[in-house]
């Protein structure tokens, strides 16, 4: 995603967001991972009065998937739980700029999913009925109506489309700066460039070892995204998620013309126009398996170009400026893993969002903090236990709309 001269002058003047002090000897909470999920949890804990929180990250801010995603945020999902969660997340995003004091360039231009086969149309119809019951105003369009929304589309082969005008896009990086800055202002310590090398589980908490010192956490929250299995394995917890490389690219800036995020079910192609004018998008290139590699490939950019120019021929002369990659954090049933395993009741995880953790983070962080500070757990936590993969119970509804 793109940079910009962001104004985030709210909060104490001149106070740095990132700590340069040594790690404290102990903390009520240590959050591993300063991505959007870890920062959202830390911020919402602080908002609830729990400020003895240390967030550590092995790299720079926005190094992982939170700094590498396409910024889409939608309520078009296939399970009632995900639809309702994303309704809340969209509301939180609408208020984010005011509450967190940073411009996140949130734009509700809608999401347009294009179907090319009868089976894809049926899938959209099923989802739309459920979304409508939840109060999301998604509607089915014929190809002509889709063309009215995006006149640049080649409608050749497009049968129908699902359109929800209140879905949208955002600029991912300022979410991190906003959460980080306001969490720090409330007393949370953020330590980047601080990799966890070992964790000792003891009777008084978890001793987290890093090259910059140690910190003992009464409760440990692992928000390490695709790297969660590596962290969990340090205390002998097996998390059945795996990383998939997902590539994405950005074009030169164009005059604003593309209102919704456009996505094609058959290829997983998606693209949107950022507030800076670039066309940002990706496509699902199948068959590369589990990897932490974030290398860029010609296969990706060629596949993306082929599908995008077919879908919007006028974009053929648009120039690609930059491509990059990030890890999708995949789970066996397409649903996240949250909460603590029975043998480690003070070790909480938040992973397995299959490339959609960014849009979920505003609501998940809030619900997590509500639960940790005494509220009854939201249904998502009962549905998303790690134990479901051990006892074979499964997650219930399987999410089948992890597109793009």
């Amino acid at each position: 995603m793109e940079g910009g001269n962001v104004i985030d002058e709210h909060g104490p003047a001149g106070a740095p967001t990132l700590a340069r002090a040594p790690l404290p000897p102990r903390a009520e909470y240590v959050v591993i991972g300063a991505g959007v999920m870890g920062l959202s949890i830390a911020y919402h804990l602080a908002r609830r009065g729990v400020t003895d929180v240390v967030v550590i990250d092995r790299g720079y801010l926005a190094e992982g998937a939170s700094g590498r995603n396409g910024g889409g945020i939608r309520q078009q999902w296939s399970t009632e739980l995900n639809i309702r969660l994303m309704q809340q997340s969209v509301e939180l995003c609408r208020r984010f700029a005011v509450e967190l004091g940073v411009n996140v360039w949130f734009r509700q231009g809608g999401y347009l999913f294009l179907a090319r086969t009868a089976a894809e149309v049926q899938r959209l119809e099923r989802n739309i009925a459920l979304q409508n019951r939840c109060g999301v105003a998604t509607r089915m369009l014929d190809a002509g109506a889709a063309g009215d929304i995006v006149p640049e589309l080649s409608l050749d082969g497009v049968v129908a489309a699902a359109y929800n005008p209140t879905d949208g896009i955002l600029f991912p990086w300022p979410f991190l700066w906003g959460y980080a800055r306001q969490a720090a202002a409330l007393g949370v310590q953020l330590h980047t460039h601080t990799p966890v090398v070992r964790i000792d589980a003891g009777t008084t908490g978890y001793r987290v070892h890093t090259p910059r010192g140690e910190v003992v956490a009464r409760r440990l929250i692992c928000a390490a995204g695709a790297w969660t299995p590596e962290v969990a394995r340090m205390i002998d917890v097996e998390v059945p998620t795996w990383p998939i490389r997902h590539e994405i690219c950005s074009s030169e800036p164009l005059k604003p013309f593309l209102k919704p995020m456009v996505s094609e079910l058959s290829s997983g192609l998606y693209c949107s126009q950022s507030m800076r004018g670039e066309i940002v998008g990706g496509v699902t290139v199948p068959g590369h398996g589990s990897t932490y590699s974030m290398a860029s490939t010609l296969e990706f950019v060629a596949t993306y170009a082929r599908r995008l120019v077919r879908l919007m021929p006028r974009l053929g002369d648009v120039k690609i400026l930059r491509q990059w990659a990030g890890p999708y954090d995949c789970s066996p049933d397409g649903n996240p893993i949250l909460g603590a395993p029975p043998e480690h009741p003070d070790f909480y995880v938040a992973c397995g969002f299959v490339g959609h953790g960014f849009m979920m983070a505003p609501v998940i962080g809030k619900l997590y903090a509500d639960w940790l500070t005494g509220d009854a757990p939201h249904e998502i936590f009962q549905r998303s236990t790690l134990a479901r993969f051990r006892d074979g119970a499964g997650a219930g509804d399987k999410e089948d709309f992890n597109i793009g």
């Binding site: 940079g3 962001v6 170009a305 082929r306």
Partner: protein, 112 residues
């Protein structure tokens, strides 16, 4: 007061770099994201050395310890249509076999 521009594509100034460092964003990758420097058409070719020198001065780091940010393909801005017929592209089940009228770059040997 005069402005010192360090990134001409994105109008990033020395004052923007100072602001970023004051926030604690010292890493050149963080500075790239926070200020937007190096994200325009030149992709850092004009500005990354200037910014690295400025960061070394602002943070007191030895210049040798301030690397450039990760460079991203393509080497120069490249039109999408140049990639359309590349044999590296994955062909999906619904892909057209006919590339004749897509306005793409000349066919490769494989497809000719």
């Amino acid at each position: 007061m005069s402005k010192i521009v360090v990134c001409r594509c994105e109008d990033v100034t020395l004052a923007d770099l100072e602001h970023s460092v004051a926030r604690g964003y010292h890493d050149i990758e963080e500075v790239k994201r926070y200020t937007g420097f190096g994200t325009g058409p030149c992709q850092g070719k004009e500005c990354v050395a200037v910014v690295a020198c400025a960061l070394a001065r602002l943070t007191g780091a030895a210049p040798a310890t301030v690397p450039p940010f990760t460079s991203r393909p393509p080497l120069a801005p490249t039109p999408l249509r140049w990639f359309v017929r590349d044999p590296a592209a994955h062909r999906f089940a619904d892909d057209r076999g006919d590339d004749a009228d897509d306005g793409a770059a000349p066919a490769t040997d494989e497809e000719a």
